[in-house]
């Protein structure tokens, strides 16, 4: 998949420089997600994980590439068939404050997909919504049905967002930093809820996060992204017990540990993440890599298999 965003330039700049430059948010990534798994896209700002999520949820068009879902090539579907697909693929956003319409009561917000898809309305809809509210742990559901979002905590709002996303029986949910803006004491509840729903409803998740500690808890497989590319991908255990890519190692070493007696060595990386408009040549990580050598700025490494289900893009490996 590729997703390039053209950089908005003023008229004068376009005349002077001629070319359009692009933010290469997602730059040729390929991966597969198994039914029922939690597949995590992890990385820091600008790595392209959110853009990837939006592409998977069919919210923005691809620049190039294909997405196959349940055997079907989504990029080749006609709009009616695509609309049917959208019911199977849902998204939960990071911000529980802006993702809910402040003027819609909870019941209406959760039941909205049922109404607009002509699945149910009136008392039929109400019953389904009440069941759903109960399912996401908002009990008694009748009490929450008539509340407005501003009357709820961030954690409760995120449950509403989850309820809304599962009400049409989707198979696949993209969850973009679903707990980053929620109080820490509530995060585990939401994450455990998502895992319970997976079991109960046979869901598959693509989980997007910058928080590797959360990733370690929830994931089956993890892909580490840097500046639009996947640099390492594998089963959770392998990634944490045997990280191969220097960036993965640095990332893991930088995570604070809630234990005053733990001594960890933070791997120091030079500089900051380069702009996605001006991607470094060769291996895009070479400008910060503690192990850089002559091949790195010249040739871009591709993902190579380095063990069962463990791939890494690095000339050292």
């Amino acid at each position: 998949m590729k997703k390039y965003f053209p950089v908005q330039k003023s008229f004068l700049e376009k005349i002077i420089t001629g070319k359009t430059s692009y933010v290469k948010a997602v730059d040729d990534i390929s991966f597969s997600v198994k039914s029922g798994e939690v597949f995590t896209l992890a990385g820091e700002s600008g790595c392209g994980k959110t853009t990837t999520g939006m592409l998977l949820a069919l919210l923005i068009p691809l620049t190039s590439g294909e997405i196959f879902f349940d055997g079907q090539n989504l990029t080749k579907l006609r709009s009616e068939d695509l609309r049917a697909m959208r019911k199977k693929i849902q998204i939960v956003f990071q911000d529980p404050y802006s993702s809910l319409n402040p003027r819609m009561k909870v019941g209406k917000a959760v039941g909205h997909p049922l109404e607009i898809n002509d699945v149910a309305s009136g008392s039929g809809m109400r019953k389904i919504v009440l069941d759903m509210l109960e399912k996401v742990g908002l009990s008694p559901p009748e009490k929450f049905y008539d509340l407005y979002p501003h009357q709820l905590s961030g954690g409760q709002r995120q449950r509403i967002a989850l309820a809304r996303s599962i009400i049409m029986n989707p198979k696949f949910i993209v969850a973009d930093e679903p707990v980053s803006m929620i109080d820490v004491s509530l995060r585990t509840t939401i994450i455990n809820l998502m895992l319970d729903l997976r079991k109960e409803l046979g869901l598959t998740y693509v989980f997007i996060t910058h928080d590797l500690a959360v990733a370690k808890y929830i994931s089956d497989r993890i892909a580490i992204m840097y500046l639009g590319k996947i640099v390492e991908i594998g089963k959770k255990r392998r990634i944490f017990e045997d990280p191969l890519h220097p960036y993965t190692k640095a990332l893991i070493s930088a995570i604070p540990v809630p234990d005053p007696e733990s001594k960890r060595n933070v791997i120091d990386l030079e500089g900051e993440i380069p702009s996605a408009i001006n991607i470094p040549s060769g291996c895009r990580f070479h400008t910060r890599c503690p192990f850089v050598f002559d091949k790195c700025p010249i040739e871009e490494p591709s993902l190579k298999e380095k063990g069962k289900n463990h791939r890494v893009a690095c000339h050292l490996c």
């Binding site: 590797l212 500690a213 808890y217």
Partner: protein
Amino acid sequence: MSLLNVESLTVDYQTRAGRVRAVDVVSFVIEKGETVGLVGESGSGKSTLGHSIVRLIPPPGIVKNGKIWIEGKNILNITEEEMRSIRGSKVGYIFQDPTTSLNPVKNVGDHFIELIQQHQPKCSNEEALNQTRKIFQDVGILPERINDYPHQFSGGMRQRIMIGLATALNPDIVIADEPTTALDVIIQAKILDLLLELRQKHRMALILITHDLGIIFENCERIIVMYAGKFVEYANSIELHRRPLHPYTKGLLQTIPNIELADQKLESISGSPPDMLNLPNGCPFWPRCPKVMKVCKRKEPEITQVRKNHGVRCFLYGGK
């Protein structure tokens, strides 16, 4: 005489929906060179407490009661002019969001020069510039960037500027309010390192305000846990980690993922954060407490000193 002595501080926000008691009769003491962590979530009052110490509580917040002694002077009683000379020189403050705390129409050098000359009016431009260059070196900013504007810096660099401003005049105390929340994890580690390095170099006391238990445990000698405007537990960090007493503290420790543990089972804390406009009777944590007793719903516990330097506000340990 302690460096900082907060005595029975109460801060209210009078809103249209009602009164919120953000800080509820809080007392604590900080000595020279300590690192103290203030941990809590929404509604805990930790940020308001931090703002109170530099008298920058945003309206409609007001100090209802209490005293704040900085080196023997109650800063709640002094004029704004006197307070301005304390801010920056005795107490530095690092705000959470460097984007909104820096003046977008002033270049970075001027931020420092203005700060320096305000506190040292006899200081010439030349001298202030020299001091600024030195601070840049300390915080890792290239001296050529002295005329750049805040928007030309990345988030991490802006936070370095904030740290530079907060420590420029060698204050005795630095308060860092969620200093790394807006930053990526690798930059976060560098910024925290910088902060601690400067703290050590200038022998400053550091009050670190955050919800992130990982950051608190790694960087603070002493930790205070806040809930609904009150201290619910305080102890040295190793003690707090090994022997947490308050059900909220225990809950927090069991709900935070620790990347060093294999196959961790995370437990959740039930319920929601307190509605500060509608606190329940008795202990504000009781609706979420796995050990709730009858007395908890009727009365609020007092702090019990369970061990030396380890206090907890809970009827399980006394609290009368």
